[in-house]
């Protein structure tokens, strides 16, 4: 645009300069032509050369420039030389270009430098009439005059030119601009949209075609924004669901790269680095998981399997891998792997299996001997009084053992299902403890145990008396049963700093090894299975004790040293009255 303006300006300017130059020259030539006509008309005919000289000088002064009369032979007839100008001219001017030009017509014109002075002139020659005193009349127009005249035209012309070009150019530019600016704004806006920046609105552009186009684009932008918002919310909801799942989620692309994991998965397989985008083998190394995922990726068939002891945590999982159609790839399946933590379920299943096995075993042993005794009696032993009594005795002992087992199991199951209602009352343990000892000790008279009781008086407990008696019986029975001959059993009571009532049963038996201490409270656990059965335990005693103490809101502790003995401590919550008013209890 600017280039066009400059080019136009240059062309017009060049033309104008040529025009002005020619016009000025022409104007001068015209003026001097008329002056030469006047002079030539007024020159006297047949005048003497002196008179001619005077006449020319006079006219020269009037015209304001040098006039020269040239004869037929080219010699100077008369010359008006202004003062200070050297008059020197060549002898003959017949060969000068202006004279030569005038020979052909009436006028001759030449633009040349006067050799004597070096000044440039425009020489104009008029061929005179035949009756004239000379052949030619020449006027020398100083070129400086012409140049000066030209200068006077150039500046206004240039100014006019500038205005004439620049103003329309500017006006045109403004006009074009008014049309292109909205297009450019629209272009910028669509570029922003193309690069994914949907936040800035598309500018409006009036009511024309362009305006309608831009408002359509703006509506499209708003629609895209709305859809994006919807997708974003949907995405966030799904994200939330996946993140809050308890099951580990692992999404694997068809190219075996991990696409997504949720926080639960990170607790299944702890890794320090980011899992997303990594190859599956970098995230999971367990061959069972890899095989399952690979199979699903290859076949598209779902896969479910139990994975025990996964990773470092040692937990067990139910792994369910589902094929999901993959988007935008040639291979067809992505794999969604869900990790359900079944560690607890497995532990429960294991406990139940063990329990059933134990109960079966514990019941079968006495049943076998009862059956054997009964058979023997049937086959004739009943006739032998001594044998009959022995076998009947065995049957009674073994059925008692079965009855005890069944009653213990019933108690346990009632406690576990919460079917036992405790009759909580406050009572003094001072009478309970001797009762229990009196009840248990006759069985173990052979061991010759020394029994000590150390209780504050009174020692108020809040408990179900009958159930708590069961606890004490079990503990004291154990303490005596597993004692060494001549050993000691001590029952002590005290109130700890929290007001809890502690009942301690100590023995001087063999003690319980560290790894067995946790297990003694489990059902059917026996430190020494053979000995315990010989001694007639069900294997459920301590389990019942623990459950009963817990039902009372208390806890049971076990300290033991191998070869030295064991100490069971039952801690019961403080009785309500003494917790509120310890002094009152003391006074009472």
């Amino acid at each position: 645009m600017l280039a066009t303006a400059i080019a136009t300006g240059a062309i017009v300017g060049f033309g104008a300069v040529r025009l002005i130059r020619q016009a000025v020259v022409d104007r001068y030539v015209e003026r001097y032509k008329s002056e030469l006509r006047l002079v030539s008309a007024s020159l006297p005919r047949d005048a003497a050369s002196a008179e001619l000289e005077r006449e020319i000088d006079r006219w020269g002064a009037l015209v304001g420039t040098r006039l020269t009369l040239i004869g037929t032979d080219g010699r100077v007839v008369a010359d008006s030389i202004l003062p200070g100008e050297p008059a020197a001219e060549p002898d003959s001017l017949a060969d000068s270009p202006e004279v030569v030009a005038a020979q052909g017509g009436r006028w001759g014109l030449a633009d040349r430098t006067a050799p004597a002075t070096g000044v440039r002139y425009l020489f104009l020659v008029r061929r005179l009439d035949p009756d004239a005193p000379a052949r030619y009349l020449r006027v020398a127009i100083p070129y400086a005059d012409i140049l000066h005249a030209r200068q006077q035209y150039y500046w206004p012309a240039a100014l006019l030119l500038l205005v004439g070009i620049a103003v329309p150019a500017l006006a045109a530019y403004m006009a074009v601009r008014r049309w292109t600016a909205p297009v450019e704004r629209l272009r910028d806006a669509t570029r922003r949209l193309a690069s994914g920046r949907f936040d800035e609105p598309v500018p409006g552009a009036g009511d024309d075609e362009l305006g309608r186009l831009s408002s359509t684009i703006e509506r499209a932008r708003q629609e895209v924004l709305r859809q994006m918002g919807k997708l974003q919310r949907r995405h966030e909801e799904l994200q939330l669901v996946v993140a809050s799942m308890n099951e580990g989620v692992l999404l694997v692309n068809p190219d075996r790269h991990v696409r997504l994991v949720n926080p639960a998965f990170r607790s299944v397989l702890p890794r320090r680095m980011e899992a997303e985008g990594r190859p599956l083998t970098e995230v999971v190394r367990d061959p069972r998981v890899i095989e399952a995922v690979d199979e699903v990726l290859a076949t598209g068939a779902d896969c479910r399997q139990r994975i025990r002891h996964l990773g470092q945590t040692g937990r067990s999982f139910e792994l369910v891998v589902t094929a999901a159609p993959a988007v935008g790839t040639e291979r067809r399946w992505a794999a969604v792997a869900l990790f359900f933590d079944v560690t607890r379920i497995e532990a429960l299943e294991e406990t139940r299996r063990e329990f059933v096995a134990n109960v079966t075993h514990e019941l079968r042993t006495p049943l076998t001997s009862i059956k054997a005794c009964a058979h023997t009696l049937q086959e004739g032993a009943a006739d032998d009084p001594a044998a009959r009594d022995r076998f009947l005795g065995t049957i009674v002992r073994q059925s008692e053992r079965m009855a005890a087992l069944v009653s213990d199991l019933t108690d346990l199951s009632r406690m576990e299902t919460g079917a036992i209602q405790l009759d909580m009352r406050e009572f003094d343990a001072g009478s309970l403890v001797p009762d229990v000892i009196a009840q248990v000790s006759p069985k173990y008279e052979a061991l010759d145990l020394s029994i000590g009781v150390d209780l504050p008086m009174p020692f108020t407990l809040r408990a179900d008396r009958r159930r708590f008696e069961q606890v004490l019986v079990n503990l004291v029975d154990n303490a005596m049963k597993f004692n060494r001959p001549g050993g000691a059993v001590t029952v002590r009571g005290y109130t700890d700093e929290l007001g809890r009532r502690a009942l301690v049963v100590e023995d001087t038996g063999e003690g319980i090894a560290l790894e067995a201490r946790e297990k003694v409270f489990q059902r059917f656990f026996r430190v020494d299975p053979t000995r315990s059965r010989e001694l007639g335990g069900t294997g459920l005693g301590l389990s019942i004790v623990k459950h009963l103490v817990q039902l009372h809101g208390g806890e049971i502790r076990l300290e033991s040293e191998l070869g030295q003995g064991s100490r069971f401590t039952v801690l019961l919550p403080p009785p309500a009255a003494s917790a509120a008013e310890p002094q009152a209890a003391e006074r009472g």
Binding site: R256, R272, P279, T281, R285, P287
Partner: protein, 234 residues
């Protein structure tokens, strides 16, 4: 990326994936072996021995892939280090797979007799050896020289534990000559576990080499075979 470069990248990734797959198989084999030993599970032990074939097959595959990658793409710098490291890690892992099989063989032998004693130290050793292998593979995945160096420090503890297991078993042997066969078999198991720790240390040294280009095995030797500290002292 040109097709050649994509192909090259795919080769490197496949190599890495196969090594980790091998690592996973070996980790699992060791875990199963120890469980078979502790739980006296003969089926599990036989399964581990049976599945060692998979480890061997994978080792061959990795070797072939590594050589092919070297020959076709002539890698340089980091990639070259990765491939040579891969070629050294693979036999270490395969050896650990063999050790897991060995543990299972001893476990099967031990099952023919009643247990000598409750196993306490050996499962603890196994847990530590498994942890070392697990962490060394993690260090390999994340190219983390710090983690690798940390694993190397764990090896001392494993060695100490093996010493104490050894002393304890010797005391069983002295106590009763009938214990000797079983005690020796358990000693072997402890030794296998200690070897697994050593192999994990090897892997970690290779991880440091991979990440930093520094050779940290045999710290007292330089490439020309001279002891650097002796040179300084002299």
């Amino acid at each position: 990326m040109s097709r050649l470069e994509r192909n090259y990248a795919a080769h490197l990734e496949a190599l890495s994936a196969k090594i980790l797959q091998l690592g996973g198989l070996v980790e699992h084999a060791i875990e199963c072996a120890v469980r078979a030993l502790v739980d006296r599970d003969a089926d599990l032990a036989r399964e581990v021995i049976e599945r060692d074939r998979e480890v061997d097959m994978l080792e061959l595959e990795i070797d072939q892939l590594a050589v092919e990658t070297l020959a076709r793409f002539q890698p340089a710098a980091g990639d070259l280090r990765f491939i040579t490291t891969a070629m050294q890690i693979t036999p270490d892992l395969e050896r650990m797979g063999d050790l897991a099989s060995n543990v299972c063989e001893r476990a099967l032998e031990l099952m023919e007799e009643p247990p000598l004693k409750p196993l306490v130290d050996i499962p603890a050793m196994a847990a530590r050896a498994q942890e070392m292998l697990h962490r060394s593979l993690d260090a390999f995945v994340s190219r983390d020289p710090q983690a690798a160096r940390h694993v190397i420090t764990l090896d001392d503890e494993l060695d100490h534990r093996m010493e104490s297991v050894f002393r304890e078993l010797v005391s069983y042997m002295l106590e009763d000559p009938r214990n000797i066969t079983r005690a020796i078999r358990l000693t072997f198991v402890a030794k296998y576990l200690e070897r697994i720790g050593d192999q994990s240390t090897n892997i970690c040294e290779l991880v440091v080499y991979l990440a930093e280009g520094k050779v940290i095995k045999h710290p007292r030797l330089t490439v020309d075979g001279k002891s650097p500290s002796a040179g300084e002292a002299g």
